[in-house]
């Protein structure tokens, strides 16, 4: 077999090489050497992006599963598998990210024997473990079908209702608990982001992000795999996204109003700039775009509205995780390049795994006959790489 070196393969290799170097630094030189975290900034980019954003971007799994199996939105059935796959990979990679961030990752299993039920972090940990297991079972039918194992498929079908209910329950707990983590820091986190309603915001935005992420990834995979875009699917998701964005925006407004911050948020300040960026991208622009029927019915319009809102919510998580602490700490925190490089490596692993899964498993079952001659397959694989960058969900 001839191995073709393409631009994206090259990028992938560079990312992996730098990532491996950073991994070496992390485990043989310590957290101090690899990151710019300090006693004042004990949580950095890995918590802000890998954990908070990673879990948020994996929300598509529970959103689509909920829509299809709880509310019988049959139209979305064709995207359940990619959504579950994204969530499953997202959670696996989130755990990989944790292994970098935890100071003593080799004791991660202590969570199971020394339990402190008062700790939000304990709740987070338990949700990660159990929900990843649930996602694993939701993902398994792909493997069974691939090898044509009928009996286990039947077993999974038997427990599917339980998996669905437990999966959504755990997602609710997990998404909201990431917000609850910050409730104990009323004196540290800037009032723009510290709110007693943080758990609700984190859950609410996860639903919006889940929908936006699904639009984004459906568009990307259809481009990369040369599939026909299923417009009704995207239009349904876009409508739901508009509603979800409105609900989130109103909740946020209500919160600012209730806490008497409306005057403060319009005044220019370091935090205000970041808040404006967040609110503009998460709410103002995508809501405006989606309010036009023309945009709601166009794949391109839906795609861009989703991308912009995703960027907005990522800004939100980084604001909560990093920017909101800078005034309290008194100095800025900028991640070291090695911190970025680890995150990039994890994301790269994510899209590589997604590519492999899509290639070998019936994730897009309709398309199996579409993969025709070898030439075409090769083209597909090359194009798949850029498309899958964000698929990792982390």
């Amino acid at each position: 077999m001839k191995i073709q070196v393409t631009f994206w393969k090259g990028v992938f290799l560079v990312i992996m090489a730098l990532g491996l170097y950073s991994t070496y630094v992390r485990y043989f030189r310590g957290l101090g050497a690899i990151s710019n975290m300090t006693d004042q900034f004990p949580w950095g980019f890995w918590i802000g992006f890998d954990c908070l954003c990673g879990v948020m971007l994996a929300a598509g799994g529970f959103c689509i599963v909920g829509a299809v199996y709880l509310f019988n939105v049959e139209r979305l059935h064709s995207i359940v598998r990619p959504a579950v796959l994204t969530a499953f990979l997202g959670y696996l990679l989130f755990i990989v990210g944790l292994l970098f961030d935890l100071g003593r990752p080799w004791y991660i299993w202590h969570q199971l024997i020394y339990m402190n039920p008062h700790s939000v972090m304990f709740e987070v940990g338990m949700c990660v473990m159990t929900y990843t297991t649930v996602l694993f079972f939701e993902f398994l039918p792909n493997v069974f079908e691939r090898f044509n194992l009928q009996a286990p498929i039947k077993w999974i079908k038997e427990i599917y209702p339980v998996l669905i209910v437990v999966g959504i329950l755990l997602s609710t707990l997990h998404q909201s608990s990431l917000g609850s983590l910050y409730l104990i820091m009323p004196t540290k986190l800037h009032p723009f982001w510290y709110s007693p309603a943080l758990p609700f915001f984190f859950f609410g935005s996860a639903v919006a992000v889940g929908l936006a992420m699904t639009i984004f990834e459906s568009t990307q995979s259809s481009r990369a795999l040369g599939r026909q875009l299923e417009l009704p699917v995207l239009v349904t998701l876009g409508g739901a996204l508009l509603v979800a964005l409105w609900v989130n925006a109103l909740l946020r407004f209500e919160d600012f109003w209730h806490r008497g911050l409306l005057g403060q948020i319009v005044k220019p300040s370091y935090e205000a700039y970041f808040l404006w960026a967040e609110l503009l991208m998460a709410f103002v622009i995508p809501i405006t775009l989606l309010s036009f029927k023309k945009v709601r019915l166009s794949p391109n319009g839906l795609y861009w509205a989703s991308v912009i809102s995703l960027l907005g919510f990522i800004t939100n998580r980084l604001n909560v995780g990093i920017i909101g602490f800078e005034t309290y700490v008194g100095h800025h925190y900028l991640p070291k390049w090695t911190e970025f490089s680890v995150t990039l490596m994890i994301i790269a692993m994510g899209f590589a795994l997604f590519g492999v899964a899509v290639k070998y498993l019936p994730i897009f079952p309709d398309e199996e006959h579409a993969v025709e001659p070898l030439v075409r397959e090769e083209r597909v694989r090359i194009d798949a790489v850029p498309a899958l960058v964000e698929h990792a969900g982390d």
């Binding site: 949580w43 509310f71 935890l102 100071g103 004791y107 991660i108 202590h110 972090m121």
Partner: protein
């Protein structure tokens, strides 16, 4: 009865013997270079700060309701009945939530270590259990750091303020802050000047209550939300089943009438 430390900044002469005794007690390096470091770190649990010829000590406050202990997922930090907030290193997974959660910024981290620990003043728990004072209180030549029962120390501090109202800021820092701490501070200038968090900002609510309000709902939330989700699932699928059966019957009827 909970033990505590009363630090009276007006009596402190800045000799830093408490720093040295602390280092010895905790087997930490201590030399002139460390003595000159004006910040707490993983190798300096307590520090004597100087500003305008006045001194202020910083150390872990040993809160009555410690945030660090409440947030630790593996319970590596806990409050003992004698007062100290202690750390069981073998449980720690290194999530550093304690550091983020502590309103006083006390837990420090061994960033350079390959198997890092959280480090902070643990109020010499072994000495206290053995009936001794903390190392810093024992060595203090002027009695600026005094060890005793918290209730007694509070009374004494109030008495000192009453007798010398012109010397002191009329309050005991730590009496009610975040629900009370086991380090009490008397001073002639506000401790906030030395980097202590503002008492008004801290408030008197114990920090664990902020997350506790959410966490205590979870045992109720789980069954209720499961039932709701299960109910929705049942209803939407029941509708399908009924529709399927009806379609079947209609088919039969149509078939028989023909």
């Amino acid at each position: 009865m909970s033990k505590a430390l009363l630090y009276d900044a007006t009596m402190c002469i800045g000799c830093k013997q408490c720093e040295q005794a602390c280092a010895t007690q905790n087997k930490l390096p201590y030399d002139d270079a460390v003595a000159a470091e004006p910040v707490q770190s993983e190798h300096k649990f307590t520090v004597v700060l100087t500003k305008d010829d006045k001194f202020m000590r910083r150390l872990c406050m040993h809160c009555e309701k410690p945030a660090c202990a409440s947030v630790c997922p593996v319970g590596a930090l806990h409050k003992t009945k004698e007062g100290p907030v202690v750390y069981d290193v073998w449980k720690c997974i290194g999530c550093r939530y304690c550091m983020v959660a502590c309103a006083f910024g006390q837990p420090k981290y061994e960033w350079q270590s390959l198997n890092p620990c959280v480090r902070k003043c643990i109020m010499c728990p072994d000495r206290i259990v053995a009936g001794k004072q903390t190392a810093c209180a024992e060595i203090c030549p002027t009695g600026a750091t005094k060890f005793g029962d918290r209730d007694d120390l509070v009374k004494e501090a109030q008495e000192r303020i009453r007798l010398n109202p012109s010397t002191y800021v009329p309050r005991i820092y730590g009496l009610n802050e975040v629900g009370g701490t086991c380090v009490l501070i008397l001073s002639s200038v506000n401790p906030e000047k030395y980097g202590y968090p503002s008492a008004t900002k801290l408030g008197e609510t114990p920090m664990p209550e902020y997350t506790g309000r959410v966490m205590e709902r979870i045992p109720d939330f789980i069954p209720v939300w499961s039932l709701v989700l299960g109910g929705i699932y049942w209803i939407s699928h029941r509708r399908d089943e009924v529709a399927a059966v009806e379609a079947e019957e209609r088919k039969k009827k149509n078939g028989s009438s023909r």
